[in-house]
Amino acid sequence: MNFYNTKIAFINHYKKFYTLSLIIIIISLISLFSKGLNLGIDFKGGTIIEMQFNQNLASDKIRSGLLKQELGDIKVKEFGDSKTFLAILEKKSGKSNFISEIKSNLEKNLNQSINFRRVEMVGPKISKELTEAGIYAVVIALVLMLFYIWLRFEWQFSMGAILALSHDVILTLGAFSIIGFEFNLSIIAAVLTIVGYSMNDTVVIYDRIRENLKKDDRASLLDLINLSVNETLPRTLKTSITTLLALTAIYLFGGEILRGFSFALIWGVIVGTYSSIFIASPLILIFNVKRDWSEVIDNTP
């Protein structure tokens, strides 16, 4: 593929892409407000048990075995193969024999021994704290990064970056809501990684725009931004491709636990790359960044 010497007029068609993004944002928001996120126990409280049996079993059987125990809402799904299952229980308990009782009752019900490979129980207090900490982490990280951009560039760049990033975050949350993947603590980490990645992408293009602005103060802003996006296009695409290669490997071979995480990252890289070219760059034109970039020369002795 040849990414070089392209002269694509990315910015000229920004209204079309803004319409597209706007539609996806609206769909995401509708899904987020109506269906919401499939919150994991980290944020909702509850119990997750990954159990392994010696023989293949139907998840309905396990479900009915658990239903007899008054554990609130119960979800059971296959996890990797048909001997391994993930049970998500609404109930949580501070009692020390909570898990062992579930286990012995289920073993009695199904008449076989079960290996509880992983148990996670999050009480209501903790889930509330984790939710708050998660929101704080994302917001504080965003604010600090934008502050940094503002220090290094002009305010137009900072505004451009914040809008592009919000776009990415909304689209990622929307994808999780629509697909219904579980949203847990590691996904928060993934969202922040996406924010970092997209920011990185945006900064590289912005850096080039700034450089070209300093070099040429006659060409129209539109042409300069187009030029900058085209010049950085090989880098943007090659980096995205390599990162996607690594992430696809994790998605396919990293096991069940890393699946949601790597999905978020893959989606985020695609969205982040798109947004730095089609959302963040036109914003500089819309905000009409200053054209006088001549260095102020201090002549005072």
């Binding site: 308990s93 996670e120 009480g123 590691s186 090659k238 390599t242 994790i250």
Partner: protein
């Protein structure tokens, strides 16, 4: 940018060798004594184990303290001949009515240091508030804090001694905040026993069963351990658990069941002897956490200070009970508010899959880079490889814990390092187009890309720092590897990679070079 002094080259190489030395124990077992032996610490999600977060419930403690205070207060009021009415404890507040003429005397009582001790210069144990001829008294906030703090310290110590007795490998037991205890037990497959042992308050009391005819005795109804029987147990204590000096599991051949033998201290033995001597024929209930474990009939006075608790225990139950009784009762009940347990086999599976995906991803990246940049791709790949080694060696040196999200963080830094290489090489390509002198073109490429590289990496570093300080558990692990990875990847791509490139193009002596 392409000039490296000898000192610089020496420093770069020694840093890498240094990194290698600390990396090696992760792959090989060395016999050489002066080499480091430390390995990366694996998180519980990778090596298997249990993470438990306990919370001390101090409410019952406050209630107890308030009750004790109310006894002392009543006693004092009586001895001072102050009349009071409607003395009640409700909603953690003592309240009573009095004759308004006695207000000054009551104030005196409430400022008596024996009743209402000073905590520091400005705070006392009790707060009070007058409402006409009524007074409301409650525990002051600083007193509550002190009670909480003491309870935490005691609980921590008791939990430590209980877990130590179980012989667990390298447990971590630390206080978190004002009322939480965090326990990490690596390698434990089934934390059932530990949870039972740390989840039992173990408040032990000996009390007589109330006589049928003695209506005067105040008693309460308590259930037996298996909830099948109910006993009328006197409220008055014969003895409580703090006088126990030892408890050992034993076996009762007569009844063919496990028992717990205990020893009392001098004071306890005397009290026990006195109580048993005067109550031969009555049933003495042994109560743990408000459950009657057994209620044997007193046949003889027990004067030796030795006793036995039999309650049809299994061997394990008797063992557990001995451990719990030896360590003493927890000052307040505790509940598990968070638990994460991973079996060792799953941990191994996660490592295997994580590493497999890492290797596959790495190979794909290496091939793609080589395809794009040929000889320069090889330089990039070598520095990428050294990046991984340095990253792991730093994780080893700072004793960071490698978790599953940590592995994901490593993969992300590989991505960042690749990005840095791509940025550099693409920039050099552009510079080569406008500059004939190869050396100058390379030099400009590195110079121009540096600001971009720093801006991009610093923004990611900011995200990593925020995650580290705000995030918990798995997120922290991710943040640590990401932060270290950004630094090592900047070093390997911008410094080491540049060194490779500079050596290469100088060896070409101005021949044409293609990236």
């Amino acid at each position: 940018m392409l000039q490296f002094s000898k000192l610089k080259i020496f420093t770069i190489i020694s840093l890498i060798i240094f990194g290698f030395i600390f990396f090696l124990p992760n792959v090989f077992k060395s016999e050489v004594s002066f080499l480091p032996k430390k390995k990366v610490v694996l998180g519980l999600d990778l090596q298997g184990g249990s993470y438990l977060l306990l919370e001390v419930n101090s409410k019952p403690l406050f209630k107890d303290k308030l009750e004790t205070k109310s006894f002392e207060l009543k006693k004092k009021l009586r001895s001072e001949r102050i009349n009071y009415n409607n003395f009640i404890i409700k909603n953690s507040t003592i309240s009573f009515e009095f004759n308004i003429e006695n207000k000054d005397n009551i104030l005196k009582v409430l400022n008596d240091n024996k009743i209402n001790e000073n905590i520091d210069e400005s705070n006392r144990e009790l707060n009070y508030q007058f409402l006409n001829n009524q007074i409301k008294i409650n525990l002051s906030e600083s007193y509550q804090k002190r009670i909480k703090k003491n309870a935490m310290e005691q609980s921590l110590e008791i939990i430590r001694s209980r877990i130590d007795e179980l012989g667990t490998r390298e447990p971590t037991i630390i206080a978190q905040g004002e009322e939480r205890i965090l326990i990490e037990l690596p390698g434990i497959k089934n934390p059932k026993r530990i949870k039972e042992i740390i989840g039992t308050t173990a408040k032990l009391t000996f009390r007589f069963i109330a006589d049928n005819d003695a209506k005067k005795q105040s008693y309460e109804k308590l259930q037996s351990k298996n909830n099948l029987e109910t006993y009328n147990v006197q409220k008055k204590l014969v003895l409580s658990g703090e006088h126990l000096t030892d408890a050992q599991p034993g076996f009762d051949n007569l009844n063919n069941s496990s028992v717990v033998n205990f020893k009392l201290d001098g004071f306890g033995a005397k009290k026990f002897a006195y109580a048993t001597k005067n109550n031969i024929g009555r049933r003495l209930a042994i109560i743990i956490d408000d459950k009657v474990v057994s209620a044997p009939v007193v046949r003889d006075a027990i004067t030796t200070g030795n006793g036995q608790i039999s309650g049809s225990f299994s061997v394990e139950e008797a063992n557990n009970l001995s451990i719990i009784l030896r360590s003493g009762a927890l000052p307040a009940p505790m509940s598990i508010i968070e638990e994460r347990t991973v079996g060792p086999d799953l941990g191994q599976e996660s490592i295997d899959k994580g590493i497999l995906s890492l290797i596959i991803g790495f190979i794909l990246v290496i091939l793609y880079i080589f395809y794009n940049y040929k000889i320069f791709g090889i330089f990039a790949n070598i520095s990428l490889f050294i990046n991984l080694i340095l990253l792991i060696s730093i994780l080893t040196i700072v004793e960071a814990t490698l978790t599953l999200p940590g592995i994901a963080g490593i993969i992300l830094t590989v991505g960042m390092a690749v990005d840095a290489n791509v940025l550099i090489y693409e920039r050099i390509k552009e510079e080569l187009k406008i500059e004939d002198n190869i050396l100058i073109a390379f030099d400009n490429g590195y110079k121009r890309v540096l600001t971009t590289l720093l801006d991009a990496n610093i923004t990611t570093l900011i995200a990593a720092f925020v995650l580290y300080f705000i995030g918990s558990g798995p997120i922290k692990g991710f943040a640590v590897t990401l932060a270290i990875g950004i630094i090592t990847s900047l070093f390997t791509t911008f410094i080491l990679g540049r060194l490779f490139v500079s050596v290469y193009i100088k060896s070409k002596k101005g021949q044409e070079i293609k990236i």
